[in-house]
Symmetry: C3
Subunit: 396 residues, 3 copies
Amino acid sequence: MVNLKNNIDKLAGQHNALFALDFLQTWDKSQKELEYILDLAQLLKDFRDINISTRCFDSGLAVSIFRDQSTRTRFSFASAANLLGLEVQDMDESKSQIAHGETIRETANMISFLTDIIGIRDDMFLGEGHKYMKEVGDALDEGFKHGVLPQRPGIINLQCDRDHPTQSMADLLHLKNYFGSLENLKGKKIAMTWAYSPSYGKPLSVPQGIIGLMTRFGMDVSLAYPEGYNLIQELEQQAARNARQNNTKFEIVHSMEEAFADANIVYPKSWAPFSVMQQRTELLKNKDAEGLKALEKSCLAQNANFTNWECDEEKMKLTKQGKVLYMHCLPADITGVSCKQGEVSESIFEKYRLTTYIEAGYKPYIIAAMMMANRFDDPGAILGKLFEKGKNRVMI
Amino acid sequence: MVNLKNNIDKLAGQHNALFALDFLQTWDKSQKELEYILDLAQLLKDFRDINISTRCFDSGLAVSIFRDQSTRTRFSFASAANLLGLEVQDMDESKSQIAHGETIRETANMISFLTDIIGIRDDMFLGEGHKYMKEVGDALDEGFKHGVLPQRPGIINLQCDRDHPTQSMADLLHLKNYFGSLENLKGKKIAMTWAYSPSYGKPLSVPQGIIGLMTRFGMDVSLAYPEGYNLIQELEQQAARNARQNNTKFEIVHSMEEAFADANIVYPKSWAPFSVMQQRTELLKNKDAEGLKALEKSCLAQNANFTNWECDEEKMKLTKQGKVLYMHCLPADITGVSCKQGEVSESIFEKYRLTTYIEAGYKPYIIAAMMMANRFDDPGAILGKLFEKGKNRVMI
Amino acid sequence: MVNLKNNIDKLAGQHNALFALDFLQTWDKSQKELEYILDLAQLLKDFRDINISTRCFDSGLAVSIFRDQSTRTRFSFASAANLLGLEVQDMDESKSQIAHGETIRETANMISFLTDIIGIRDDMFLGEGHKYMKEVGDALDEGFKHGVLPQRPGIINLQCDRDHPTQSMADLLHLKNYFGSLENLKGKKIAMTWAYSPSYGKPLSVPQGIIGLMTRFGMDVSLAYPEGYNLIQELEQQAARNARQNNTKFEIVHSMEEAFADANIVYPKSWAPFSVMQQRTELLKNKDAEGLKALEKSCLAQNANFTNWECDEEKMKLTKQGKVLYMHCLPADITGVSCKQGEVSESIFEKYRLTTYIEAGYKPYIIAAMMMANRFDDPGAILGKLFEKGKNRVMI
């Protein structure tokens, strides 16, 4: 309790540079701002663990727009909103029409009259998701400026074509707690590597998010994929630049084994090559069902050349003294469990299964922290008042 | 703040004749009762603007039944419920069976055990929506009378085949604020006119709602449509009667230009002719897919004769000194934006776009006011207590 | 009020043996525990009737998983959660993948980070629903034990292949209130009988739940069905054992008339024979559409031999002095109303219609009581504090 009070006071003393700004990509934010989110998320978790309510809204909506399926993030968003007193209202586009610029502008305002937060997942099309979020943001700016909206709702990126910040930040908080501190992450090697999967079309945002974030927090990042399976080039270059600026290492290799060598952390996860995603985006736009089928077929055939890109006992022996943290954003394609041949062997996954659940468990708090940082000038002061008040979340 | 306190006191002194009664059509209510809703809605907006919570329910459900698609009204209903502390529970009929009288009676009770408000949209079939709401209301009366329900939930019409009172009342509050007072609306001319749209089957409830309401608030109403595109005759006659009783004018003309002449307000919006809606209702009942396709085709061909019924720069010059307020319930069919040829030209819509957003922004408060007026004997007294309490909606 | 205070104190003095345990089947619980639920449910109803809030959660989710359609139970679950301050988040499996053991384990944890209650309906497959709930429970145990979850959410069975405890317990509370006390139920005869319906595939859980519960509360149970329409044999045997242990009677007869003879309560309701449900389960697993169609056809033909199994005026004369309570879980198949020939004649159903609504009205409170008993060591003490506080549910 004394510790918690100290941590609240520490946060309350800091300037919140995230106030009233959307959270779209971690690389739009300074390191200090990201650490602010980590601290705030941890405090929200601490409050809940000692059964003190963090309800700071008496009413208000948190609107979610999922343009792709989701379970994990959907429940994390709902939990985060509920934790702060906001009510989730899902915007089901099948019951509406968002087509061109004009209608985005309009819909953005129509769902926002009494809305504090909008969470958006739009990860299907390269070049689209991030752009869509910016357009929604511009529309909200316009609406707020002209008195349409009594407040400018904050936008939280729940996964776009470029970044998946609620995932990568939850991963970072997991790493911080797992290794004891951010300080302890310095010099650690993380292998963000492609892995084989019998499916295709998986987004690039997780690996892009990981290399863009971990290079800034003292870690050496080894990005591994088969030739041709590259990410958005600009974001690979950015990771390299991050590494230079932060005195960490960033390398791209074409062997899982090479990436695993002496790694402290491995993150084996499948994705579709950038070029495939580009073709897919074109075909989807043109509603070319035949073309999509052909692309899927050729892509799966291509993937099949790399079934040995599996995280297994053998490869794990290459890592730091054979001791390593396995990470995954879940669900993983587990060989012999969820598919015949997948990203990870059953024995390795089973060894780390509960740890990946713990990793996932940080997401609701990260999202709640992003919400608070967006809505409150001084979230630390708010937490201070809530601590003072000491209202129990569950009556005792 | 002093003003707000005065306005609360003024409301608290009035008798609430709307208490415990459903809100199905504006013409079921007296002018005084409608003004009461406007005042209450404005107060709720004022409270939110100064960050004072209007949560007057600690628990309770607001059930929504959407028998047609909706974004705007869905979010308005959810926002209104949340503003007062009610939780929205959507009744998805695809997961249930409402077929004949018996089952309406039953379902109405089954969803109402702990429910305070039921909002219903049922605008697809002529002669059905309003009837359905009455049947639900009768079932709730019976259930409450016989001890099935601990309370009699109030029903709010979220659009039926006859009226769209949350829309027309939001429009009226917009007009009141735009022109400064209800007094200032006296003698203003409003052109409620049909406009061309490349779609068919749009409900009649908005124009019917507008002519039924505005004729009672001092405005001269000019209803314009191509020959044959008339509304429910009884409701046209009622508007004429309203005009006679309130010393306003009501005319039906068959030229957009004529309606626009010297108008202070124009409301150009497409709808399907009454006779088409009647045929459509029959075909839908008989599940006659062929017949529906044929009807749509002939109806669109018929519409195509009237593409010049577009609200454009030229026609706007005919209005009061070329200065006029453009209104729309949104979304509008905008020429060159959402369709090739539509209800309104791009330049006109763009000029009034943000104003139409502000118009839409009154709907959550109108709905919340209808909820409060239904549930509380004296909403003004409740607001007085909430003001006294002064709990912030968002913690500060 | 004095009475209410006494009843609260009486409950507060009792040990809550249901704390932290899932509620899957009534026969897993002692008679005392079931009476505890009845008392708690009644208190929650009493609180609401005098407008005192029972909100004991300031935040928290109640997750619902409906693997089959539902209106009644869906709204009851939502109402119960809302009554206590929990927010419902529906887990829509069409937007996720729950397939094999592995994924149940994972999903159970992923939806539970900030979740207090999980309600599950899974009644489609014999041998599956109950098993599924146990698997979810095991996964939650594991997650809680290893620090994945800050709390172990409680599971409430909203209908499985074996029991429908929220229904049977609501029925029991209805009986208790209808006849004045549990004591008064002693020696009463209840006829749980199959009835004709033009549909097939109706679950066995209601009749199984009724014979498993009522044999323990002093009632003599006559289970009637046409030869071959038996329930899960183990559960029929258990009902017989219950009867022996509780000095009540349990018989199986093959005539509705025999069951109705001198009955105080009749519960005529259709179900599919156990053997058909077994075949259906196999066919559904194999996705054998042809086989399912053939089974439905033969089953409906088989049912058609028993159209005289209808609860009508004639048969009701056989009951206790012609005075009897008719019960149904709703919706009933009513001859001439919801179908040509069904479970009950129109005149009989109409006589008891409102009474069946009152019966259904206990379900929200039963579910809320199960939630409280699971989450609070001493729900009576919590209610005592809420009574003391006396906050109104709806402001006055």
